[in-house]
């Protein structure tokens, strides 16, 4: 029995969002008389950080502290329409819609402030700490709270804004076959190192090194969290999980968590991640999205690493010990490839 080390590499391009008939999301922003703002969405936050990121985007666009923004989401009865949280589209699509809504709301807020300060709205700026003042004359100032109160009770204005971001349906050009299904792409490269046991066929992860280019990371800790968790799911898809291990016969399939295999905390490996930021021209503050693509490069990199380790090319997922062992036997033993 020998354990063979192997290294594999994979690079991916990942389109942000999808294009099956157009890809819109909407947002509504309004101020409350307290000077705080509510963002109404129906986009789902499953823990990826949609609420945090849209809150940041709204606060930054309005020019108010992030603490003054509340995101109310995940109810399609009360929030404006969203296509959904998938295809890594949340930050890009919803973020852009929030930005548009916040810009409109900011316009009304500045007009209301201008009326109170008796100046032209174009001469005003926000300080990001909850105040609006005349450019170059910070003492000519009014708090966003007082503006909200004046708009509500004195001027009869709603400080609010509507936002939608739509990537329209891209038709296929009948002459060339070309289409533009996405407006921006994220990129990644990952090197996986594995150890393959040629007696049992088991594959153990040794380490991963990756680089992700995903536009501006609006919340770096959340981006890192996505990349770390997504890589685990990549390992799981590469080596462990399937609902149909003996497809097309479902009778031996896993029925529950006891039988459905996933890597546990002892099966993970060190993972060094580099995040490269090249802002997207049409992204909110340059952001693309770190969603699904964080799992994708792991699968081909692991498959390549297994080939490098024992010389077998498995092209069906997951790469189970049984498949590795059958392939090693079929070629008459492990054939380690040159180390790169």
């Amino acid at each position: 029995m020998t354990r063979h080390r192997g290294r594999g590499i994979a690079s991916i391009n990942y389109p942000i969002g999808m294009n099956l008939g157009g890809d819109p999301s909407q947002a509504l922003v309004h101020s409350n008389p307290s000077g705080k703002f509510t963002v109404a969405l129906s986009s789902i936050d499953l823990g990826q950080g949609m609420k945090s990121v849209t809150r940041q985007i709204c606060a930054e666009t309005l020019g108010v502290p992030v603490e003054d923004v509340y995101v109310d989401t995940a109810d399609s009865d009360t929030g404006p329409h969203c296509m959904g949280s998938f295809a890594s589209r949340g930050t890009h699509r919803v973020g852009n819609a929030v930005m548009m809504a916040a810009r409109e709301a900011r316009g009304v807020m500045m007009e209301a402030a201008a009326e109170e300060l008796e100046v032209n709205a174009a001469d005003l700026e926000t300080d990001g700490r909850g105040n609006i003042h005349v450019k170059g004359a910070p003492h000519r100032s009014i708090s966003t709270k007082d503006v909200a109160i004046a708009a509500q009770f004195k001027q009869g204005k709603t400080i609010s804004g509507r936002g939608i971001f739509l990537v329209p349906l891209s038709d296929v050009d009948p002459e060339t076959g070309e289409m533009s299904p996405a407006t921006c792409y994220a990129h990644a490269c990952l090197v996986a190192e594995v150890e393959v046991d040629d007696e049992t066929g088991e594959v153990a992860m040794v380490r991963m090194d990756s680089a992700y280019e995903l536009g501006r990371a609006l919340n770096p800790r959340l981006v890192e969290q996505q990349l770390v968790g997504g890589a685990w799911m990549g390992i799981s898809h590469a080596l462990y999980e399937t609902p149909e291990p003996y497809y097309p016969d479902p009778s031996h399939g896993p029925r529950d968590f006891v039988e459905y295999l996933m890597p546990g905390p002892g099966d993970i490996c060190p993972h060094d991640i580099a995040v490269l930021e090249r802002p997207a021209a049409d992204g909110p503050f340059g952001a693309k999205g770190p969603g699904e693509m964080c799992a994708n490069p792991v699968l081909p990199a692991v498959a390549n690493a297994i080939f490098n380790a024992v010389g077998v090319r498995i092209d069906e997922l997951p790469i189970t010990p049984e498949k590795v062992l059958r392939a090693i036997k079929a070629q008459g033993g492990a054939r380690p490839q040159a180390r790169r």
Partner: protein
């Protein structure tokens, strides 16, 4: 079926309920006591989301008959914070981004508490072992392991 009177300590407080024979502790906690912190994941001991401490020992409440905790002390996530202050483990989970959807988090926090209560200075391998009965689909475990180790080092600093 006749109901049985059952008394036990729940997070330091005496509780008395009537349970049907065969009721498991998870159902008793959630539906009869209203403590929603232990989660129903699989109902067969495969995921760890329902983990609680019984007399300080880690148990899967979905596989524990409620009647077996008579006179014993049951601790859930609901009882680990100190008034408004988060437990050091909860603080460390927040600081280390160790939760995403959060469904597994209560069970993992109880598994981690059981570990730190008996071994305040665990190695990384001991942390991995301690949470190996808990399934997490979001975090990739790494931030959870780091959070438990961070909480342990906070405990060391205090001691």
């Amino acid at each position: 079926m006749a109901k049985t009177a059952l008394q036990f300590r729940h997070n330091g407080r005496d509780v008395a309920i009537f349970v049907d024979g065969g009721t498991n502790l998870l159902v008793a906690l959630r539906e009869l006591i209203g403590d929603m912190t232990p989660k129903f994941g699989c109902g067969q001991g495969g995921c760890g989301a329902c983990s609680v401490l019984i007399d300080g020992e880690l148990h899967l409440s979905c596989l524990t008959l409620a009647e077996t905790v008579a006179g014993r002390s049951v601790e859930t996530l609901d009882g680990i914070k100190d008034g408004p202050s988060l437990h050091p483990l909860q603080r460390a989970f927040a600081d280390n981004f160790a939760a995403q959807c959060g469904y597994c988090t209560p069970g993992i926090l109880m598994a981690a508490k059981a570990l730190l209560d008996r071994n305040p200075q665990p190695s990384r391998a001991e942390v991995v072992e301690a949470i190996s009965g808990n399934i997490c689909r979001c975090t990739g475990y790494e931030p959870i392991i780091n959070a438990v180790l961070a909480a342990a080092s906070v405990g060391r600093a205090r001691a």
